[in-house]
């Protein structure tokens, strides 16, 4: 047991953030519980389910991210897999696309193994270059050309969204350590997920409190300018105070937080538009109160590569 704890070896900064995360969860659970004593409404019960799910997700994530790097790679790889499976269960593909879909699933272990090896050059081109060539060819081999254009577009997009983007989280762990920067890849991963998810929550809260002017009423009727701007501002402030998890300067960390908030919004509405097209409200039902895996990580699938490449540019 002692050995296991010693091998976990968390820096002081990371321990503090874990404390903050658990504190936020505890506070919101307590808040909704006391609120429920005075008045009960349907909206509140949904908030409670969501908070409960947040507890589960936070626990799973912290365990996967902090115990051992191997578990982190496998965990994030499984996240990609679950997202891709949800995506294919919702979008309508042809029977002749099944070979192509199989190759897309096979891309997951390859991509994550490349992240694990730390072979950056291949990691970064494997999906956008090799799979981009290979998938349409596999579709052509099936011999069925009716509607092949949709599949040729849909399958590469599916792995870009669910595998390529998210796999950058795994590569954060593989980045070489910087002298004098203790939290390392774990810290960066924690920063990314914390800011992305806090941004979602903050946009939700600001929107509920002050939301009036809709941004994209046809796609996401709950998104308002007030919510979006409030979320961006909150993310920048939170990002500034979480700077100790990154090797960045003040200005850089504020810029990155700003971009995470903006790009998170893009990821959110892109997935929303796909859901509208397919006539479903959620991508799945695996997370009570939130919908499917893809509903929770819609923003993350786009913030991850943006965050990774900015950090890579600034600090490496």
């Amino acid at each position: 047991m002692d050995k296991l704890i010693a091998s976990v070896n968390l820096s002081g900064e990371i321990q503090m953030v874990i404390g903050v995360i658990l504190g936020i969860l505890l506070l919101s659970s307590l808040l909704f519980w006391t609120w429920g004593l005075f008045r009960s409404s349907i909206g509140l019960s949904e908030l409670k389910t969501r908070t409960k799910s947040w507890w589960g997700m936070a626990t799973l994530f912290l365990l996967a991210a902090l115990i051992s790097p191997i578990i982190t790679y496998i965990g994030i790889g499984f996240l990609s897999f679950a997202a891709l499976r949800e995506f294919y269960s919702v979008i309508q593909l042809r029977k002749s696309d099944r070979a192509g879909m199989l190759w897309c699933y096979l891309a997951i272990p390859i991509q994550y193994y490349l992240a694990y090896m730390g072979w950056y050059e291949l990691f970064i081109i494997f999906i956008p270059v090799f799979m981009f060539i290979w998938i349409p060819f596999v579709l052509v081999l099936s011999g069925e050309t009716k509607m092949i254009m949709t599949s040729m577009a849909g399958l590469p997009t599916s792995i870009m969204l669910c595998v390529f983007g998210l796999s950058h989280m795994a590569y954060l762990i593989s980045l070489p350590s910087i002298p004098g920067f203790d939290p390392g890849g774990k810290g960066l991963l924690l920063f990314l997920i914390f800011i992305t998810q806090m941004n979602d929550v903050m946009q939700f809260i600001w929107g509920k409190l002050f939301g009036k002017h809709k941004i994209l009423p046809k796609i996401s009727p709950n998104k308002t300018w007030e919510g979006f701007l409030g979320g961006v501002l909150s993310s920048m402030i939170i990002g500034y105070f979480m700077k100790f998890l990154t090797p960045l300067e003040d200005g850089e960390v504020i810029l990155i937080s700003f971009l995470i908030a903006g790009v998170g919004f893009i990821g959110d509405v892109v997935i929303s538009a796909i859901k509208r097209d397919m006539g479903v409200k959620d991508m799945g039902e695996s997370i009570p109160g939130h919908g499917g895996v893809l509903d929770r990580i819609d923003s993350l699938s786009m913030t991850t590569p943006i965050f990774f490449h900015l950090v890579y540019f600034f600090a490496y």
């Binding site: 949800e86 099944r98 879909m101």
Partner: protein, 218 residues
Amino acid sequence: MRTLFLYITFKVLWRFFFSVIIGVRFIGSRKFNGHIQFIVASNHNSHADAVTLMTAIPNNKLSKTRPVAAADYFGRNKFISFVSWLFLNLVLIPRKRAKDNKEDDPIQIMNNVLKKGNSLILFPEGSRGESGKIQPFKKGIGFLMEKNREVPVIPVYMEGIGRVLPKGNKIILPSLTKIYVGDAVYFKKESPAEITKIIEQKVLALKEKSAKYKQNFN
């Protein structure tokens, strides 16, 4: 020994495969519990159907539950029929009723299995259909129930399993699948044709329930 073997095959290996990799979720699988003997009647979309259902059968009934399959496919040679018995606990029946040959009568074979105290997993559609469409049920299940009125029928609707392994395709792919288990039905005086009709309606009702479940999310 046999129970332990089937337990490991279905409850550990297949269950891990279907719930974690394929993404199968049972709704109401507790309804399999508490019966001495039962017949599961389900819609049929893929070769994975019987195995998936076996993963939800209560542990103590595992060795006494036998999916019914076509002899011309799963019994085409001795090896395949042995493997399908060993790993799947299958009962093989001929697709066509041979009226002159009593030993080969599919209803007689199933009846014998039931009389020994076993439970059955049946696909009354006869053959695998397109995902989302239910073909008219064959009357065989009605004739079988007429002779075994003490055994309840548990209707099941599987939604989305046709995308896991469709007919005429060899690639198994993960796909989120939901399996709705209905309440057990007992038959007293109904004729075979009526029994078949009632079971078909029960399965269709579960299908409707699944459609409603989806709409609620919209």
